[in-house]
Amino acid sequence: MALSDKELKEISYLARINVKEESFSSLKKELEQILTLFEELNEADTSSVDAMSHPLDLSQPTRKDEVTEENKRDELLKNAPSVKSGLFIVPKVIDGEA
């Protein structure tokens, strides 16, 4: 299955992976091999098989609705490169405003 440069750019953008132009051709070749493999899988007849969303045949255990976590803000904020007034400071991203 052929992959266009545009598609490759879109995929790398969605995954937030910075792919350099010079590695496009080699990367495309590798991805195309993976896609070919999936196309092969697609040929298998699965009409009699139920869709599976997890390989373990168990039901998800649950927990009671109780607050068990304490405030560990100071400790957790230590991991952040930038902090102000108890907030994580990040580059400005506004989705929504025109």
Partner: protein, 481 residues
């Protein structure tokens, strides 16, 4: 915009996000309390620290089952979670855990009251998902501050079929959902605080057309009134565009309540592609029959059931029953009042009239009413047993509101008991007739309208305490002599 909107019809679907009122988060034991200091309620799991795993809160399953049952929907078992992938600073994992193929609630409906009768709106699905944190954009020198307290708070997203036709129907549907979630106590439903949020999908087509028009999604609508206005605006905008020869772009728009307009959100360079896949950190959930049944058995009477009971048990009109049953607290108050007053219709009138007016005046919830249901019941009882007239009852009610006193106490202290003794009333009437010979003359020569004058005089003489019906009867016989 002066297009003839009558030639067009709108197709509307609503997506309602309901914040579930659990103590802890969907997948962690951090608190969900509103208004805490930033990031004091965000734990390792909410922050997506390496190596952590989500653990499902059992309560959200119960809440979703209750909602699904109230919406006449199927409960899927197994139900499973999926990953919705996108990058945004207020979502630390780089994905949201949501549901895709097997939402917990699927295929229900809701009956709403419209101008032209009852209408059934299909509910496609309701699925569980995590809320995001909050980004604050002011005061950070061109950067953003992130508060993750809300990250991981459980949401139920309720998706309607595109079967809503007017802004008024959209509001009726939204109010009905609001009423249900409040009855079930699964959310406080506070739209101003964001515990209930609504996105509207709107398209228009020429009346009679079968093909759907291109739809837009309007976000950011945070009150019932704004939902109505935003949809109305969007319908008119789309009709105007099409009639001007333009086409509608499929896009997400934001409602601006200050200017009552919608405007497009900045479109991204690439279209969103969430690349959903089954959540590998969570197993599918099998909901045992016994579990589902025990949850359903635990459900309270729902608004529509209550309404029907009010109509059959108390002979209320559909309209009155609907008004009372829409709010659980009002319905409870009403039933307590009726228990004492034994007069459903008069109780309804007092709750919807005098009581509502005073509550609205002081912006109070009926639970915080200064006149308790007991006391209002007593007041209505005193009207029913003719101790006081309806007019004096209104004065007494205001005094009860201010002083907190019982009705009997005020009646006794102020001597407000209704005069029902024929002899006493006769005496007052005789006095009034005697002191108004001119009016008597005119009345007897055919000026019937003066009857009201005499009633007024008698009521004044009795300080409003004479029983109006007796006054009428006795006065009539005396004047006709």
């Amino acid at each position: 915009m002066n297009e003839n909107l009558n030639n067009w019809e709108a197709v509307i679907g609503l997506e309602i996000h309901v914040q579930l009122s659990t103590k802890s988060k969907l997948f962690s034991g951090a608190s969900t309390n509103f208004g805490a200091l930033p990031n004091t309620q965000a734990c390792n799991i909410d922050l997506a620290m390496p190596g952590v795993l989500p653990v499902l809160n059992e309560e959200v399953l119960k809440m979703a089952i209750k909602l699904g049952t109230a919406l006449n929907a199927d409960i899927n078992s197994p139900t499973s979670f999926a990953r919705k992938n996108y990058f945004y600073p207020d979502s630390p994992k780089g994905y949201q855990i949501s549901q895709m193929d097997k939402p917990i609630v699927e295929g229900g409906y809701l009956d709403i009251e419209t101008e032209s009768g009852t209408k059934r709106i299909g509910v496609t699905r309701a699925h569980l998902e995590e809320d995001a944190g909050k980004s604050l954009h002011d005061d950070f020198e061109g950067q953003s501050g992130i508060d993750l307290n809300r990250a991981g708070t459980p949401l139920l997203e309720i998706v309607s079929e595109p079967e809503i036709s007017t802004p008024a129907e959209a509001v009726a549907y939204l109010k009905s959902i609001h009423s249900i979630i409040r009855y079930l106590a699964i959310s406080d439903g506070n739209m101003a605080e964001g515990s209930m949020r609504c996105d509207a999908n709107v398209s228009v087509r020429k009346k009679g057309d079968l093909e759907l028009g291109t739809r837009t999604e309007t976000k950011n609508v945070n009150s019932f009134r704004f939902v109505e206005k935003a949809i109305q605006y969007e319908i008119e905008r789309q009709v105007h565009e099409i009639e001007s020869g333009n086409t509608i772009t499929q896009e997400t728009r934001l409602y601006d309540s200050q200017n009552n307009t919608t405007r497009p959100m900045r479109s991204k360079e690439y279209a969103n592609d969430y690349r959903y896949f089954p959540e590998p950190d969570l197993l599918p959930i099998t909901l045992e029959k016994d579990f589902i049944e025990s949850v359903i058995n635990d459900m309270p009477e729902m608004p529509n059931e209550k309404k029907e009971r009010f109509v059959s048990k108390f002979s209320l009109s559909n309209y009155d029953a609907d008004l009372l049953a829409a709010d659980k607290d009002i319905a409870n108050y009403f039933e307590e009042v009726v228990k004492i007053s034994d007069s459903p219709k008069l109780s309804t009138n007092w709750i919807m009239g005098e009581l509502s007016a005073l509550l609205n005046n002081e912006n109070l919830n009926i639970k915080d009413s200064k006149v308790s249901s007991d006391k209002l019941g007593q007041l209505i009882l005193r009207i029913e047993d003719a101790t006081i007239s309806g007019k004096i009852a209104k004065d007494i009610f205001e005094k009860m509101w201010i002083s907190g006193k019982e009705v009997d106490e005020i009646i006794q202290d102020e001597g407000l008991e209704q005069v029902t003794d024929d002899k006493q009333i006769e005496a007052m009437i005789d006095e009034v007739i005697k002191s108004n010979p001119e009016q008597l003359e005119q009345y007897r020569s055919g000026k019937d309208r003066l009857f009201g004058f005499f009633v007024g005089q008698v009521m004044q003489a009795s300080k409003g305490k004479a029983n109006p019906k007796q006054v009428n009867d006795i006065l009539k016989s005396k004047l006709e002599k």
